[in-house]
Amino acid sequence: MSDTPATIKISVKDLTKVYGTKTVLDHVSFEVQTGEFLSILGPSGCGKTTILRILIGLLEPTEGTVYKDGKDITGLSPSQRGMGIVFQNYALFENMNVQRNVEYALRFNKETKDKASGIAENLVKRVGLWEERAKKPGKLSGGQQQRVAIARTLALNPDVILFDEPMSALDVDTRLSLRKEIKDIQAEYGSTMIYITHDQEEAFAMSDRIMVMETGKIHQIATPEEIVKNPADEYVERFVLQNLQTKVDSLARFIKVRHA
């Protein structure tokens, strides 16, 4: 994405969310480039999900504006925003099979039935669930279910896809393969992705830039390299780098053993 001049896909200005007396987001502003993969890292309760819900229009901000392609979309309904969202626990339609899950929404978006099933079939194939297409979600593994959720989101061809801890319920192997899948999809569709994770290593491996948050505030938005080189403050240093260092250290011991 560094070859072409970057255009701004999403821009957020002074986003504030207050519940009663509690300020959950405090004048948060940031921008996301077209085709960028942005991760959001931060401790539990710092407002990550709140940002995502406001971006897609499921939640109303107390103050602030959301722009997409330069247009103010703050007042639009979720379906008018051209965004998709993938949740941690999949939120699939359990009473429909894989194919129907992907196809369902298309029917409401003025697609003909044939066209809808054509699009859905391609997507089901794309995420590698062709054999499973007649099964209900309850019969699938967690990783397979998350693939269905991703295919369902892709069906409406959103240019921005939001992920709220999509891998937290999955085992390590599945995470690694899904990680690659998501990156492949991003490359193929040119989507802009905003990705919440609790896994520093995952954020570093997948992201173009990482946003580090603490209780409703952004501490730093930067490329992984820059965060390593120049952590904005002591908090970023501690929350991101020390965490990573611990993992590296514990692995390094064993790698030494192996090479000894």
Binding site: R53, I56, G57, L58, E60, P61, T65, T74, G75, L76, S77, P78, S79, Q80, R81, M83, G84, I85, F87, N89, Y90, A91, L92, F93, E94, N95, M96, Y104, A105, F108, N109, K136, R152, T153, A155, L156
Partner: protein
């Protein structure tokens, strides 16, 4: 201030719906109760409360409640334990037999006991029994038969969800059985047991069917209320007794509310392995078969009484009792019952489902109010509700129609179905509507296409609950029906004291049982077909 998107418009529509439902519950629950409480002013309250009849009835009511609860709960626990912790033979059969009383009116337990143990009773003659079934012991036996199935099913449910890992840990540590019971079982049972005890106690002290038939000289408060209002049209005095009956019910409700386990059973880590123990399995057969067969006895007696000319003098077969039942319009009353029960099922399911949807999946302060109103229905004894309705709706167009009977039953039986929907909808993924909105699928469509299909089994169960209970109830409807709208169950109350009609009441009980069995079987088959197709 900013957002004018459809999500928030819909939230407005739901608020209007919620407010409508709150008003609805205020009109059908709160208003009638207030009316009844105000109506007490027309009576000399002190005189009612200090009368000898009232004092005696109060003592009797409490005694019946305490003795029945003390007998029923341990017995039901034993039965539930046998079902859940042993490899007892023919489990399904015993469950069906033990639950039989839930399919016939409480008053049928009374007539059943008279047919079995009365002066000319089937068993009295067979075993040459002396003594009389009438009195306190008769009431206790009848009420026990009426409430054992309820306690049994509640306790089976609790035991089915108990976690076995603490016991396995205790066993590896060599802790003896009795110590395990004290240290693990009792603490686990404490909370659910309180719910069971209060449910049993409330049911027992508010029933008039059993004591009316086998009470003899022993009067309890519901019978006093029945006599005041039905016999003498003393509505004001009735209101005072109704208010008194409301007190324990409300206490029971509040205790249950405070006690209700907020945790979910979903996180059970391991079920019980019933293992292999032949002797235990055979021993378990004794209580289950004994109680199961005992529950079947009244039904068998109904069959005998229905088809025998004049038990025990003339044992020839006859259709005379059936014909006589139809002569006193039994068929029309049966039709009333079927209409009422079907309508209660239909409307009850819709209202319970929508209310539960609003209170689980569109949470707001209004939905909490709605939730509270919904479960409050549980606290009101049927007779009290019926009396309140009689006082509140007299003179309105629904009074004296089937509509008021449908409404009162719906309110009377609303809480359990509501809670079933509440649990089902709570267990569905919380983001379904959000996903729908991002995909351009509206909330009502998600409700229709995703939520409702996943509630099919709850819909069937709640329909069956509303239907069966409306078929067997005699409490709320007794003050509200007339010769045209009477449900068939009340025919038993009407003729219970006339031995010439024993054959008719037996046949009526059989008809009610038959309808309920057919419905239960249909629900069972539909559910199985759905499970198979999945």
């Amino acid at each position: 201030m900013l957002n004018r998107g459809s999500l928030h418009r819909r939230t407005g529509a739901s608020l209007i719906l919620k407010i409508c439902l709150v008003i609805f519950f205020a009109v059908v629950v709160v208003l009638p109760l207030v009316r009844m409480l105000l109506y007490m002013a027309n009576a000399d309250i002190v005189e009612v409360l200090t009368s000898n009849n009232f004092k005696k009835a109060t003592v009797n009511t409490l005694l019946v409640g305490l003795i029945t609860t003390a007998i029923t709960v341990p017995l039901a626990y034993l039965l539930a334990w046998c079902m859940e912790r042993t490899n007892l033979k023919w489990k399904g059969l015993w469950v069906v037999l033990i639950s039989l009383p839930m399919l016939i009116p409480s008053i049928s337990q009374g007539t059943g006991l008279i047919i079995l143990f009365g002066a000319n009773g089937v068993l009295t003659n067979l075993f040459n029994l002396g003594g009389s079934i009438y009195g306190m012991h008769g009431i206790v036996i009848g009420e026990a038969m009426y409430v054992i199935p309820v306690a049994f099913l509640m306790l089976s449910d609790i035991l089915a969800y108990e976690d076995s890992t603490p016991y396995e840990a205790a066993q590896t540590l060599g802790i003896p059985r009795f110590r395990q019971f004290c240290a693990i079982t009792l603490p686990f049972l404490r909370r659910p047991m309180v719910s069971v005890i209060f449910a049993v106690f409330s049911l027992t002290i508010t029933d008039y069917g059993v004591p009316l038939t086998v009470g003899g000289k022993v009067k309890v408060l519901p019978v006093l209320l029945y006599e005041q209002v039905i016999g003498q049209l003393h509505f004001a005095e009735g209101s005072v007794i109704g208010a008194v009956l409301l007190i324990p019910a409300v206490i029971a409700f509040l205790v249950d509310l405070a006690n209700r386990d907020r945790g979910s059973n979903a996180f059970i880590s391991r079920g019980f392995d019933t293992g292999d123990n032949k002797r235990r399995d055979i021993l378990a057969l004794i209580p289950c078969a004994a109680i199961g067969i005992f529950m079947l006895l009244p039904v068998l007696a109904f069959v005998v009484l229905t088809f025998v000319t004049n038990y025990p003098i003339d044992m020839s077969l006859t259709m005379a009792h059936i014909e006589k039942t139809f002569r006193v319009k039994g068929d029309i009353y049966l039709r009333n019952s079927l209409i009422i029960s079907t309508a209660v099922g239909f409307f009850g399911v819709i209202v319970a489902m929508v209310t539960a949807y609003l209170s689980t999946r569109m949470v707001s302060p209004t939905s909490r109010l709605l939730h509270l109103l919904s479960i409050t229905c549980m606290a009101i004894p049927g007779m009290v509700l019926g009396l309140s309705y009689a006082l509140a709706f007299k003179g309105t167009i629904i009074y004296g129609t089937l509509a008021i009977l449908i409404m009162v039953n719906m309110v009377h039986f609303f809480a359990s179905p509501y809670l079933m929907f509440y649990n089902t909808m709570n267990s569905l993924n919380e983001h379904l509507e959000a996903v729908g909105l991002t995909l351009g699928v509206s909330r009502p469509r998600i409700f229709r296409d995703v939520i409702m299909p996943q509630c099919i089994s709850t819909i069937l169960e709640t329909f069956s609950y509303f239907f069966v209970n409306s078929m067997i109830t005699i409490s709320a409807v007794v003050f509200l029906s007339n010769t045209f709208t009477k449900p068939v169950s009340l025919l038993i109350a009407q003729y219970e004291a006339q031995s010439a009609f024993l054959g008719c009441t037996a046949f009526v009980s059989l008809m009610i049982l038959g309808c309920n069995l057919v419905l239960k079987a249909a629900v069972f088959l539909i559910k199985r077909a759905i499970n198979r197709s999945n």
